[in-house]
Amino acid sequence: MYNGAKIIIGLIIFLGLVIFPFIYSGGKATAKPDPKVDTPEILQLPENERKCVESKEYMKKEHMKMLNEWRDWVVRDGVTVYVSTSGKEYNMSLQNTCMKCHSNKEKFCDECHNYTAVNPYCWDCHIKPKEKES
């Protein structure tokens, strides 16, 4: 083999770099995100009214698209009332509707966003709810 020593050293460095993240994390998987919905605002609602604007599955999958649509409807079209599939009406507002129930941004939004390494810029402008120490 030509330049065998150099190639082997190079391979070892390469392997080291590739394996490093696994060694660094100790071979354990990062804890799964567990967003909390037990804010005082939600807990004081009667049991059968503890529902989001749409089903949990829909919100998990589509909330980002929904927020984009709400934004366009409110800001660009001047339409402010959302009628959910259950027929209930909501004021379309991140700050004044979503976060009134989900007042725990860190445990609700950030929990999954950090896990999936997405960094939405909502809070650059929108005022996040005051977090209560729990």
């Binding site: 934004r71 800001v75 001047g78």
Partner: protein, 271 residues
């Protein structure tokens, strides 16, 4: 199976046509389902074209207009930046006669007019130059009520609109405005802005949607109620002949800022 060129082009053409048709069909259905889920708030104030009349006889002292400015800036979390006048953010602000109505100066005009602090704001033009120059449609004229709106999500901070606006109604956030907003008095119902976007008066679109008049108009009404006079700011529909604004315009002599530029401003002044 062999295929000649003619055959191949035929099949390719038909299948791409089918594909395009299918996609647009799905799009049409999807759009309809979503659109049926929203509606206008029944309490919202509606107009074809919102306009404002400023009665300068009600704005004599600094306090008179400061009440309105404070109301506006508090409701919209407008930062109070004083360390550099170029970084100042203004939605509603006072300026002199010669700056407000240039081309109309007269060295012999009475001092009280010359130094009268005119209350200025975005004119919500009928033909807004800022909208024409905006490359992202972040600023746009709402078809429903004529308000020249800002969509902060889209603003890229190019400042073309500031160059385009002949009224200086737009302010750029040269730095993060948050440190300049008092957290104890900020309005938690309205967002702030971030560094790098342009902002201006929006005729309180968020209040109109909930049946409230603009914050400055409300403040002017409160002052008027205390003093027992008519309010200094009147808000209404310019296209409705029975609106309060139109009644004033048909009775009093009013002027607008730089109407010769053809922008069609919607803010009128009674001197």
């Amino acid at each position: 199976m062999s295929m000649d060129r003619r055959e191949f082009i035929k099949i390719a053409g038909i299948s791409s046509l089918l594909g395009l048709g299918g996609v647009s069909g799905v799009g049409a259905i999807k759009g309809r389902v979503e659109a049926s889920q929203i509606k206008k708030s029944p309490e919202a104030l509606q107009a074809k074209r919102w306009a404002m009349v400023v009665d300068m006889s009600k704005f004599k002292t600094e306090e008179d207009y400061q009440v309105c400015i404070d109301a506006c800036h508090r409701v919209h979390n407008v930062p109070h930046i004083t360390d550099n006048p170029k970084h100042e953010i203004k939605w509603l602000w006072p300026d002199t006669y010669e700056h407000s109505f240039p081309g109309n100066e007269d060295e012999y005009r009475a001092d009280k007019y010359q130094h009268m602090p005119f209350l200025l704001l975005c004119n919500h033009c009928d033909n807004p130059p800022c909208v024409r120059v905006c490359p992202t449609q972040a600023t746009f004229k709402r078809k429903s009520d004529g308000i020249v709106m800002m969509d902060m999500h889209r603003c890229i901070g190019c400042r073309f609109c500031m160059a385009g606006c002949p009224y200086g109604a737009r302010s750029f956030n040269y730095k993060d405005p948050r440190p300049y907003i008092d957290e104890s008095t900020q309005n938690p119902e309205f967002p702030t802005r971030m560094k790098g976007v342009v902002e201006k008066c929006t005729f309180c679109y968020e209040r109109l949607a909930h049946g409230l008049e603009p914050a400055c108009v409300e403040a002017a009404k409160e002052v008027a109620a205390k003093k027992g006079t008519t309010p200094g700011l009147v808000f209404g529909d310019l296209e409705d002949p029975n609106s309060e604004v139109r009644k004033i315009l048909s009775e009093r002599f009013t002027i607008r800022r730089k109407p010769d530029l053809g922008t069609g401003p919607s803010v009128y002044y009674i001197i």
